[in-house]
Amino acid sequence: MSQHVVGVEAQRAASRARVRTRRGIPRHEAVTLWISRVVIWVVIVLTLAPMWFVVEAAFNPTNAYFSLGLFPSHPSFGNFAYLFHQTNFLIWVKNSALVGFTVSLGQVLVTALAAFAFSRLRFWGRKYGLMVLIILQMFPNFLALAAIYTALAELNLLNELWVYMLILMGGSAFNIWLLKRFFDSVPKELDDAAFVDGATVWQRFSRIILPLARPMLIVIFIFTLMGSFSEYILAGTILETPNNYTLGLGMYGLISNQFAKNWGYFAAAALLSAVPLAVTFGLLQKYIASGLMGGVKG
């Protein structure tokens, strides 16, 4: 329409160069944008379809694998009812929640203390200490299994939930490194000022650095929480009786070698345990992204 107002020739030349869509995006960028969208939609469908299969199976009472409609034909809560009445699902959840929260809290504390030392204090071994610790932790940890198992058997401490928690609480060099990087990005002037004002080392740590690092502490908490839900080797070794089972152990027992029979129950359990974790994770997403990159920039 504006062609009548502006010179036609000039307008044509301009439109040849940059054809704009309604929202003012150049044509070639709009094409890229829509191709990108289609690619992303395809990837999203491919990513989420397997999860939808599991959701479907959870609500499918017939326990038949081949239900390929978008929704189960006769949805019911039968699988969930079985889970609550015929298995120890609630005990597994309770144990896993107890282990997860205790271990994560412990890890955050141990990690924060060590990361503070590496970031702010001077001591022998500071330069390469963290690197050495990270490399040492690459030693296959399940090999510790034989030693840990023998020691616990000697001390009569097998099949104790608190022992399992204590072992999982051991320091993680990688977490220390992540948190140290974050501490490093907190300006040194802040706690130096406090230091001049007579604050003790502990006050510098607890009053200044720790509150500022809250996002990163949350990240380490959630990583440890997820990790503890996925821990299988140690749990399988230490915890022996079903009333001490964690969720992973219980679900592994539910499904190993009996897929055809228990797939629906397993799917229901997977749904119930994954959703709360996924929601928590989703809510903390922005902390996770910034936490992983934090400090690299400097």
Binding site: E29, A30, T32, I40, V43, T47, L48, P50, F53, V54, Y65, L68, V110, L113, A117, L121, R122, F123, K127, G129, L130, M131, I134, I135, L136, Q137, M138, F139, F142, L143, A144, L145, A146, I148, I167, G170, G171, K188, E189, D192, F195, V201, W202, S230, I233, I255, W263, F266, A270, A274, L277, A278, T280, F281, G282, Q285, L292, M293, V296, K297
Partner: protein, 322 residues
């Protein structure tokens, strides 16, 4: 950099006065981590290294002896049965660790570049949807995949059936079992790489692009010579732990295939066993502690050396000695 050292200078004067006290505090802060690391990692590690030089197995449970390098020689001796266990497993472990890390990284980076489009206003919704696999504990999702990939009942084959594709024996054939492991690992692992890459993309200073535009660089050129090197620099420190993690990624293999399908030539390891799951089986199933320990020592030497060089190269894990 220069300004920060200048700012630290007055502080150093204060610190110099209380070095002894400061150092004592440092060890106090470190002690919980060091203590737990020692008891749970170092002591068992020393024990395992010692076992690697003995004949500690089910037959010599109480009366094991020092045998020197015998276990290690057996691993590399083509005439020894252990050789046929070790070498193919080592090959697949490398293929898996490199493959999983590289594929996950490339897919993650690609998605990050696509999502990092300033015209795509809804990209945060896409990101939240794509991150979901990361938010499900791996133990649960891998077990679920075992069901989905089941040859007879699994929904993946059911889905392929809709398109007339005959059922694939995903977990029962060596080739497909390996593809399955890499696929499931990609599904579970790309969101991490995508998040890291997105963070790195957004950290690339805008001035660099402006300067390039002024110099007449085209968009692909700017991407190739500015964006990619910056992303590489930022993501490399996270790629190394990821490679080391995959090298020991017991869950990805053991929970999906159990190491199978079995090899007709030996009973100890299957086609998809990586060194970590092989060592696990040798400990718990076959009680061959000495072999498992020897394999683990070699595993550790490989991963440790690679990581050491990478860390020295990136400097990401070093502490400036100020």
């Amino acid at each position: 950099m220069a300004s920060s050292t200048a700012a630290q200078r007055p502080a150093r004067v204060h610190r110099a006065r209380v070095t002894g006290k400061d150092r004592l505090a440092a060890y106090g802060f470190l002690s919980p981590a060091i203590l737990s690391l020692s008891v749970l990692s170092l002591v068992p590690m020393v024990f395992a290294i010692y076992i690697a030089f003995t004949n500690f197995d089910a037959n010599h449970f109480l009366s094991y002896q020092w045998v020197g390098l015998q276990n290690f020689i057996a691993l590399f001796n083509p005439n020894d049965p252990l050789f046929s266990v070790f070498i193919p497993t080592l090959e697949w472990t490398f293929m898996f660790a490199v493959g999983a890390t590289v594929v996950n990284y490339l897919v993650g980076l690609f998605l990050a570049v696509v999502l990092n489009n300033r015209h795509m206003r809804e990209s945060s919704i896409y990101r939240s949807l794509l991150i979901i696999p990361w938010a499900v504990p791996a133990l649960i999702s891998i077990l679920a995949w075992q069901g989905l990939l089941n040859q007879d009942y699994g929904q993946i084959n059911g889905f392929l059936h809709l398109f007339g594709i005959p059922a694939v024996n995903w977990l029962g054939q060596p080739f497909w079992a390996r593809i399955s492991i890499l696929m499931v690992n990609l599904w579970a692992g790309f969101p991490f790489m995508m998040t890291v890459s997105l963070g790195a993309l957004q950290a690339v200073p805008a001035e660099l692009h402006e300067a390039a535009a002024i110099d007449g660089a085209s968009k692909p050129q700017a991407f190739r010579f500015i964006t990619l090197p910056e992303i590489w620099k930022l993501s490399l420190p996270l790629l190394i732990p990821s490679f080391a993690f995959n090298f020991n990624n017991f869950n990805a293999v053991y929970l999906l295939t159990g190491g199978g399908p079995p090899r007709p030539t030996n009973e100890f390891v299957g086609y998809t066993d990586i060194l970590a799951s092989a060592a696990y089986k040798m400990t718990l199933t076959f009680n061959l502690y000495n072999w498992a320990a020897a394999i683990s020592v070699i595993l550790f030497i490989i991963v440790g050396t690679l990581s050491w060089f990478n860390m020295r190269y990136t400097h990401a894990f070093e502490e400036a000695d100020t």
